[in-house]
């Protein structure tokens, strides 16, 4: 190793080490009190229902309680499912990072026009129900989709050259499509506040770009990257809709197997074992993550973005940026546009088209707003008809409640976690926070039915259950978005405030809060989009008179008739618009920003 590297290492050493907790004493009681709300929430709406359904399921086991375990482990097909679940999640995570990190760098370090649009567009993917995403990819890559049609007519092919549905590629691409925004937001946000002077200092000391990245930037980013990777992994590990709809019958994950065992076969004991396996995997992973990250975080002075970001000046830079944007657009934005395009298109099938294309592919006949007009008509006087305006209002209502609830619960949890990392309480509670994400939605949904059945908590048929369920999913995201930012706040700022006589609350209000405002917005955006797009839990508990947008889409797309399909596409486009506008609005908060100091 040359001396340059040692100098890099030296540069890193000059960063202050993690503060010893003794340096800044606060009574333990505060931690306990701050934990109280999130813990009560989790106990009541997560652990209690989950424990009830698992207990009830095992009670139904025939013979000993070990029987379902033996059944699960001795089945070759279930071992196969476990193995596939694991490696597809790993592969999906690596691919998502490969796409997301360059994008995060670009969004974090450079200033260019249309940046917030790109951010919002990539975030839209996150809210779309799987059936809609399948329709979007089909409009693009299906047998008669835009790409295949173009290739067939260009090269005079008889059969569509690209085969997309029911392949592993479809699963991986859809996972990247959904989850890249997690990397962009979590890593990109953190990166954008990283002091560029650290890199510059390394450069002055003689480090080249590559070794600066490897020895300075990456180590500093690692906590955020690990957070994002963990979330992506857990999301893809518990993947359900993508596997079912895009992967097809050849593929099964633990979650699809749990659904099959529960709903089709009513083999609750076996489903419970699978749900437990899924939980233990999530827990193990989160514990490894917590251990890894606790050694990595360093307090930094985060900088406002107008200092860290610059314009792209060189042609080479523009070229590389162009490639990154192109890849993101192709992966995420193209299917969205294909969907929007189809929703305002008029297609016709004629005899001549059959002769040309072989299968009578519908021919494009111009634009129309008919699908949107039809959405507003209750043709059959149906009781459960809901206009787009109603569904938007219902969706926004649930999303608003979820944002408020998830932040109220997530902020105190993230705050204690970032303060007293070595305390026993924190070390044991931290990994538990991620569990709801790794829990089978099918199992937990039944848990609500079994557990929350007595007044005052008879919530089995209550619409309140919807934002509660959404918050369970959003809560880990909020905590994971906030902790890296909270942890990296230099303790000196806090100490300075304390020395000047500020009490802990004032310190939080005037030091921590402004510094994490940006991360709070990221957290809010996650909570908002999670709630807006959530389908599974909502379908189990929402009131049919007040469907959310995804629920209304589902109703339309499960019926025959091109008009129903057209309306489903139109409503999906409306969902994209609502999500996009919502995220732009959240970005907008920055103008009145307490965060840009």
């Amino acid at each position: 190793m040359d001396t340059r590297v040692d100098r890099d290492r030296a540069a890193l050493k000059y960063l202050p080490a993690m503060p010893h907790q003794a340096r800044f004493k606060r009574p333990r009681l505060t931690s306990i009190l701050l934990w109280l709300a999130p813990l009560i929430f989790l106990l009541l709406f997560y652990f209690y229902p989950l424990g009830s359904i698992l207990g009830m399921s095992f009670a139904r086991a025939q013979g000993s309680i070990l029987a379902p375990f033996i059944e699960a482990l001795s089945s070759a097909s279930i071992r196969g499912v476990l193995w596939f679940t694991f490696w597809q999640a790993l592969l999906s995570t690596l691919l998502t990072l490969a796409i997301g990190l360059p994008g995060a760098y670009l969004l974090a370090r450079y200033e260019f026009r249309g940046k917030s649009i790109i951010k919002a567009l990539t975030g839209i993917a996150f809210v779309l129900p799987t059936l809609v995403v399948a329709a979007a990819f089909n409009a693009l890559l299906g047998p008669q989709g835009l790409v295949n049609s173009a290739l067939m007519s260009t090269f005079g092919l008889q059969q569509p050259p690209i085969h997309f549905t029911n392949t592993l590629t479809a699963i991986l691409i859809a996972h990247m499509f959904y989850n890249t925004t997690i990397v962009l937001r979590l890593v990109g946000d953190f990166w954008s506040r990283l002091d560029p002077r650290l890199g510059q200092a390394a450069a002055v000391l003689g480090a080249n770009k590559w070794s600066t990245l490897r020895r300075i930037t990456l180590p500093l980013l690692l906590p955020a990257i690990a957070s994002a990777a963990l979330l992506v992994f857990i999301f893809t590990f518990t993947s359900f809709g993508v596997i079912l709809v895009l992967g097809g019958p050849q593929f099964a994950t633990l979650e699809t197997e749990i659904y099959y065992q529960t709903v089709s076969l009513f083999n609750l004991p076996l489903a419970a074992v699978l749900a437990l396996i899924q939980l233990v995997c999530t827990l193990a992973l989160t514990i490894i993550y917590t251990r890894l990250v606790s050694g990595l975080s360093r307090p930094l002075s985060l900088r406002p973005t107008h200092i860290t970001q610059r314009k792209i000046s060189t042609w080479r830079g523009r070229f590389l940026a162009g490639i990154v944007i192109l890849v993101l657009m192709g992966l995420i934005v193209a299917p969205l546009f294909a969907l929007g395009f189809r929703s305002i298109s008029n297609f016709e099938r004629t005899e001549s088209s059959t002769a040309r294309q072989g299968y009578g592919a519908p021919v494009w006949r111009g634009f129309t707003l008919e699908n949107y007009r039809q959405l507003n008509i209750n043709r059959r006087g149906s009781l459960f008809y809901a206009s787009p305006a109603t569904t938007i209002a219902v969706s926004l209502g649930y999303a608003g409640a979820t944002v408020v609830l998830a932040i109220l619960l997530g902020l105190p949890a993230a705050w204690v976690l970032s303060r007293r990392r070595s305390s026993f309480l924190n070390r044991s509670l931290d990994p538990l926070l991620m569990l709801p994400l790794g829990t089978s939605a099918v199992t937990l949904g039944l848990g609500f039915i079994v557990a929350l059945d007595k007044p005052p908590l008879d919530l089995r048929a209550s619409p309140l259950l919807v934002p509660l369920a959404h918050t369970l999913v959003a809560f880990p995201f909020v905590v994971r978005s906030l902790t890296p930012a909270l942890r990296s706040i230099s303790p000196r700022l806090r100490e300075a405030a304390a020395v000047m006589g500020a009490n802990p609350r004032t310190v939080f209000r005037h030091v921590d809060l402004p510094l994490v405002a940006r991360a709070l917005l990221v957290a809010a955006a996650f909570a908002f989009t999670i709630s807006l797009g959530e389908f599974g839990a909502t379908a189990l508990i929402a009131r049919p008179e007040y469907p959310t947008i995804p629920l209304a889409i589902y109703r339309l797309i499960t019926r025959p008739g091109m008009q129903n399909y057209g309306q489903a596409l139109a409503l999906s486009t409306i969902l994209m618009l609502v999500a996009g506008l919502g995220m732009l609005a959240i970005e907008r908060f920055r103008i009145a920003d307490i965060g840009e100091f």
């Binding site: 059936l131 019958p249 709903v263 409640a401 039915i449």
Partner: protein, 343 residues
């Protein structure tokens, strides 16, 4: 947020006003495909001085699971939507009370699959293969008439069906082949379909809206319902005289799904629950069923809308497998099917 609060306040006001006037509430638990017209709901509520609360609980299997797990302390008074593929599970778990409705007299005996009258039939739908008329007229070949035809070379690479493990019509079609070819013959048939390049997807939406040639896919024969052609006319983009799709309705080519309603064990509203069950079986509700739920009435006196009488072919002789056989063998059949078709 504000809207949400308003919504909550509105529903709270509703509940309070209901209590104040001594109103009763009848809760009906269903799957998420349940629909009815607003008019009928109001009529029932006014006639019996009751507020009707519909609780949608996910797909058929999920809704039934919820009803089973809340047995003894039921979420609702009535459960609607268990079909013959799930009937044995519902009856075996004992979630229903016996109710011998006088309206059963108007219903064909064929539909009454529970002789003890715990689950009463409400509607039926036939799962059948549909074909794309345009494709077959263009290519100048005859569409298939029955299941055996599909093994012929001219239908190679034309069929898309759904997975019986994940899709309710998929299971129904597997049952049709079992009913038609018998336990000894069905796997041989599926082996033949596989050799004729059958395509299997997991859900009806992918089959119908992605792979079916009518929607831009490359397969002109798709698994759907006998009613789908009529709905293609009713919900067409542009008005049409003739349905764009046809049904393969030969002997034993379809499987009949019957949906049932039952009074949930432990209800405190037994009288009202009976009234609701009678209402569901009465002609006014039965005639509302097709256009709301895309299935058909079991009451012989119910009249069908002209759109259906013109375009609907209800198969005369669907394949039959009893609910007990389905419950006993479902797992094995699906497993054997998986081994044969997917491996």
């Amino acid at each position: 947020m504000k809207k949400k609060i308003l919504l909550l306040l509105a529903s709270l006001a509703l509940v309070l006003s209901a209590c104040a006037t001594g109103h009763q509430t009848l809760k009906v638990m269903t799957h998420d495909s349940f629909a009815m017209s607003e008019e009928l709901k109001t009529a029932f509520e006014e006639q019996h001085d009751v507020t009707l609360e519909i609780i949608a609980s996910g797909d058929t299997g999920s809704a039934l699971n919820k009803a089973i797990l809340s047995k003894g302390n039921p979420i609702a008074d009535v459960f609607y939507g268990v079909d013959n593929a799930f009937l044995s599970r519902a009856l075996g778990e004992g979630i229903f009370e016996v109710y011998d409705s006088p309206l059963l007299a108007e219903i064909l005996d064929d539909f009454e699959l529970d002789p003890q009258k715990r689950a009463l039939p409400v509607d039926f739908g036939d799962v059948c293969l549909n074909y794309d008329r345009l494709y077959f007229s263009e290519q100048g070949i005859q569409p298939p008439l029955n299941l055996a035809d599909l093994l012929n070379p001219e239908y190679r690479s034309l069929l898309v069906v759904t997975n019986p493990a994940t899709s309710s019509p998929g299971l129904a079609f597997l049952l049709a082949t079992i009913g038609h070819f018998g336990e000894d013959g069905y796997l041989v048939y599926w082996q033949g379909l596989k050799e004729n390049d059958l395509l299997v997807v997991n859900d009806w939406e992918t089959a119908y809206y992605s792979e079916f040639s009518r929607s831009g896919g490359s397969r002109p024969i798709v698994l759907s319902y006998a009613s789908s052609p009529a709905f293609e006319v009713i919900y067409a983009d542009a008005p049409m005289d003739e349905p764009p799709t046809g049904v393969v309705s030969g002997d034993g080519a379809c499987f009949r799904q019957v949906e049932f309603v039952g009074i949930l064990e432990g209800t405190r509203q037994r009288d009202l629950a009976e009234k609701w069950v009678d209402f569901m079986l009465s002609t006014s509700f039965q005639e509302d069923i097709p256009l709301q739920m895309f299935v058909f009435p079991v009451n012989q006196n119910a009249q069908l809308d002209s759109a259906f009488t013109q375009h609907l072919a209800i198969p005369d002789r669907p394949a039959f497998v009893s609910p007990e056989d389905i419950a006993l063998n479902r797992e094995r059949w699906i497993q054997e099917w998986t081994e044969t078709v997917l491996r």
